[in-house]
Symmetry: C2
Subunit: 444 residues, 2 copies
């Protein structure tokens, strides 16, 4: 039996009871985190573009748009909710692959769950299995696939979405294998679009691709049985090297979702250790921006590859500026959506501080680590070494900090009591009878 | 100005009057050919899968599904009509790149044209410009992109669809550039799915991607300005080598649509010279299947790469079997949809003849050429050399043969008078006031 068929069977045949309780808990945390960021993003003006298209194109009221107070069809909901989930760059990161797996997976899961009247436990299991599928596919082609310039969230995301959708649709093994095929051949998304709305679009489009794949396969649409391992399949065509064992070895024994860290800050994940360092300087050492003459940092190569923007002009660019993220970390004591408005990015004091920062690549520095030294005007130096950034697998965002993140973000569109009700419902998601009730609570 | 912006300007700013009359005529032929194959395919049972999803998902009645007698929204129409256009493998081929450009481009053009109430001449121009964009992008990355295993129709097709859609939407230059970005980052489709419904799905999905890109860009959705040439853009990520000059050089002076050959046979294009040869043996030399001891052929490498299936089990496999296509060419005197039913593929006499065929690769043989020698039981040999297959740019399908193809295929779903009316309307497409009237004539 091939790798794709093996994965399909794992997705379908793993009893929910066989998923370890800590793994389900991680899945629940992913969902809470997803809801938080999507709720916040739902107030973004760009959502009007998507809903404008939905209104013109029409669609049955089958699934819920988070925060909007409206329903639309399954594919539209997956597209929009996936877009929202990734829009703030504040979702989650599977550290071994840099995939942000919840944004393409969970919207697909909830859309189909609403269609099926699935329970909260069903959605929880589908989310965990979808994230597992997505991340394992990513592991099978990492780093070559990533290094080639693919947006690995957009490409591998289709498998997470299809897995979750197929599980909840109750596909049989052939249908699930074909669904992975129909989804996998839609794997797409290049990093050239970073800095524009199209980046978040990738996550939504992948969620939608997975939903469509499930709906087609359920009705008998055929595809290849070997989308992953085939000679002209996903791994062969989209990567220069692959290891199929990463997909099939230890399924059900080794789980990837604990390696999926929830983001503490709303900016590129590779800068999070740097933000941690600057906040620590502010809080532990009382360093003030005006006291600082210069800042030097030893960083992982991805910091300069992905986040070297010394002069961002808009908030979106700031999210991918390590210089800006470090500046607000020190000046504001955080790197949250308020730090990534256009106004904050153009602030003269923040801008001046960015100019003081010099980062140098050190290949021995891990992706979730860094060392930062500030030199003060009086000659003193303060150094912070971060071994594992907040949110990294070895230093996960605590449940308490996750709640705090949820309350802050949800508050943009929900009242305090609405926020409380949704949060407590999500913490007991495994007891919910029909997730449509949960989605109804996301309406601002 | 970058290549993507140059292409965007060309698409938008080329006056219809500046397109040479012979080029517009080629565009018209593409549309007639597209309508023919889509009408025929509209009776395929698999269409019920797509329409089943459309019914569940809903959608405004904005554009016409060919042959179905129903309307749906723009994206659904693009998806379904693109699927139909490619389903029979009987559409067209841009010989230099092996792209089948009409299937992803024309459905997008007509969907937006119905939305805009565009004239027939508008659609004609948009089709020509879309095919141009699609084929030039293909040229810029051929052969590396193709050789890597991509379904080049699915990948490059998004650019044809976005170009046609953007032109008809009346996008401005920034919007068109962004539309190419939103579409281009959705470039997808691997050849592993060949032999299944998903292959034709690629063409439809690309048409839909282009329509969605245009609708989003028109409403202000942002993307990259450099999807084609960017460091992490389409060419860099989806190909190991590229030549951007193929896109920008000679725009408006050199046209690709004459290199887009309409298919005489409903099977993989690389076998068409072989089918020509077998038909010629039957018609010129009176060769009968029972007289034949063995068949040898010298073929272009793609014949064995794409069409080596000595034992097809279903019609779909037969379309990608050079052995089957040669067998029916001799036995039936043609290679049309009737030759690719499951029954014909399993016919014992046809099957026995397939077993007599041996093709060997000869790298000196051009893609549209071949040499076939049959050895008869009485020892005689008959050889046919084909320099340019019917339908190749140097030997195009005549207007008369195109009409014959149209009538035969349309007859599956239209009456003779409906066929006549549609055909004559299409021949005078450039005088049609509103293409919605044309689409109404496609209803069986």
């Amino acid at each position: 039996m091939g790798v794709t068929e093996t994965l399909a069977r794992f997705i379908l045949n793993t009893p929910t009871e066989a998923i370890p309780a800590p793994i389900l808990h991680e899945g629940k945390r992913c969902i809470i985190n997803y809801m938080a960021v999507a709720l916040y993003a739902s107030a973004d003006p760009s959502m009007g573009i998507l809903t404008g298209v939905f209104e013109e194109e029409g669609g049955s009221a089958s699934a819920t748009l988070i925060g909007a107070g409206t329903r639309t069809n399954l594919q539209n909901a997956a597209l929009a909710n996936g877009y929202l989930a990734h829009l703030e760059d504040y979702d989650d990161t599977h550290f071994p692959t840099v995939i942000h797996p919840s944004a393409p997976t969970i919207p697909a899961a909830f859309a189909i769950a609403e269609r099926e009247g699935a329970t909260g436990l069903d959605v929880l299991a589908a989310t965990v299995l979808g994230v597992e599928a997505c991340c394992r596919v990513g592991l099978s082609v990492y780093p070559n696939h990533y290094d080639a310039g693919w947006h690995i969230t957009g490409t591998c995301g289709v498998f997470g979405a299809a897995a979750a959708a197929g599980r909840l649709l109750g596909l049989d093994e052939q249908q699930m294998t074909y669904a992975l095929g129909i989804a996998g051949t839609q794997a797409a998304g290049v990093r050239e679009v970073f800095g524009s709305m199209t980046k978040a679009f990738h996550a939504g489009r992948s969620a939608q691709s997975g939903v469509l794949a499930g709906l087609l396969a359920q009705r008998g649409f055929t595809s290849t049985r070997e989308i992953l391992e085939g000679r002209r399949g996903f791994a062969a065509v989209l990567s220069t090297a692959s290891d199929m064992g990463q997909i099939s070895d230890g399924l059900g024994e080794r789980w990837e979702v604990p390696n999926n860290g929830l983001k503490p800050y709303s900016c590129g994940v590779v800068s999070h250790p740097l933000v941690d360092a600057m906040i620590a300087m502010r809080e532990d050492d009382g360093v003030l921006a005006d006291d600082v003459a210069s800042v030097s940092a030893r960083v992982h190569p991805l910091v300069l590859e992905l986040m070297d923007r010394p002069n961002p002009r808009v908030g979106l660019e700031g999210k991918f500026s390590h210089q800006h993220s470090m500046a607000v970390g020190l000046i504001d004591g955080g790197a949250y959506p308020a730090q990534y408005t256009d106004e904050r990015v153009l602030d003269p004091a923040v801008s001046a501080f960015r100019d003081k920062i010099r980062a140098t690549v050190d290949a021995s520095v891990a992706e979730d680590a860094c060392e930062v030294t500030v030199t003060l005007h009086d000659g003193r130096e303060v150094t912070k070494s971060i071994a594992h950034a907040t949110g990294a697998p070895e230093n996960p965002l605590s449940d308490a900090r996750l709640e705090s993140k949820f309350r802050t973000l949800a508050h943009r569109v929900l009242s305090e009591s609405q926020t409380d009700e949704l949060l407590s419902t999500l913490w007991s998601l495994d007891t919910v009878d029909d997730v449509s009730a949960v989605m109804a609570l996301t309406q601002g």
